[in-house]
């Protein structure tokens, strides 16, 4: 079986362990990407309302989740 076929089989796997593990990994990736992009938006002066609108969530929700983190400086700059 080719590697591509293996992957296709895994993607459509009915084994809950395989499918749920992919969901977990995807959620972890989502959380990291959200932090990167929300920080970037804040650095560029976006309001919490604008960020909330873009993410289609409530302003309170996005503020509660991200406001506690200090707006990180752009990495790679000093």
């Amino acid at each position: 079986m080719s590697q591509a076929t293996d992957l296709a089989a895994a993607a459509g796997s009915t084994d809950p362990r395989v499918g749920l593990r992919a969901v977990l990994a995807l959620r972890r990736l989502l959380e990291r990407l959200e932090i990167v992009q929300v920080d970037n938006a804040r650095r560029q002066g976006w309001s919490w309302q604008e960020i909330a609108d873009a993410l289609e969530v409530s302003r309170q929700g996005v503020h509660k989740k991200h406001a506690g983190r200090s707006p990180a400086p752009t990495r790679g700059e000093s």
């Binding site: 992957l7 895994a10 977990l24 990994a25 995807l26 972890r28 990736l29 990167v36 983190r69």
Partner: protein, 189 residues
């Protein structure tokens, strides 16, 4: 505190940081400090650990298999199964936001050692505690500097991190190991 660290013990911390990056773990834990100690093949601490029955390769394999990291190799594999290439995502994000952008954010107040914003040493609270204990051990023994031996004493004194767990599972008696380290320091002085 950091000016007391010898070149060798700084190298242990730098090595621990390198191990963390290589394994794509988020923070330097006590287990990475242990790897940092073992990395110095010709050093007295690595020799002491080997004599006590620690197999560096086994420790390395055990640490690599630990799942405390998020977005590590097993996540990459799971994402591959649904057609997502994590390395490609990482490369894209790092291309725009800099190296390490996709790593877990540093909580506010997290210590950064040996300067450098680009690659701060990301210590777990327990690993930070170990280095503080290394200082205390050095003071208690009336030594002027903190060497790799003191870091090992700190690891043993802390006693509850993954490094201590690995050593206990390898069949070591931490108190006995502690005595050996202190003895070796006495002999060297």
């Amino acid at each position: 505190m950091w000016n007391r660290f010898t070149a060798q013990s700084r190298q242990v911390v730098v090595g621990a940081q390198a191990e963390r990056r290589r394994l794509r773990h988020d923070f330097v834990g006590t287990e990475h400090l242990l790897l940092g100690l073992l990395d110095d093949n010709n050093g007295p601490v690595a020799a002491l650990l080997r004599d006590a029955g620690v197999d560096p390769e086994r420790v390395r394999a055990e640490v690599a298999g630990m799942q405390r990291r998020e977005l590590g190799e097993s996540d990459a594999e799971a994402l591959r199964s649904i057609g997502i290439d994590l390395d490609a995502v990482r490369a894209s994000v790092e291309g725009s936001f800099g190296e390490g952008a996709l790593e877990a954010p540093l909580p506010p107040g997290r210590r950064r050692l040996f300067g450098g914003r680009r690659t701060p040493t990301r210590l777990s609270p327990r690993a930070a505690k170990v280095l503080e204990l290394a200082l205390r051990e050095s003071l208690r023994l009336r030594h002027d500097t903190i060497g790799p031996e003191h870091i090992l004493l700190g690891l043993l004194r802390e006693g509850e991190g993954l490094a201590a767990m690995i050593l206990v599972q390898a069949g070591l008696d931490l108190d006995e190991l502690r005595r050996r380290v202190v003895h070796s320091l006495g002999a060297a002085a």
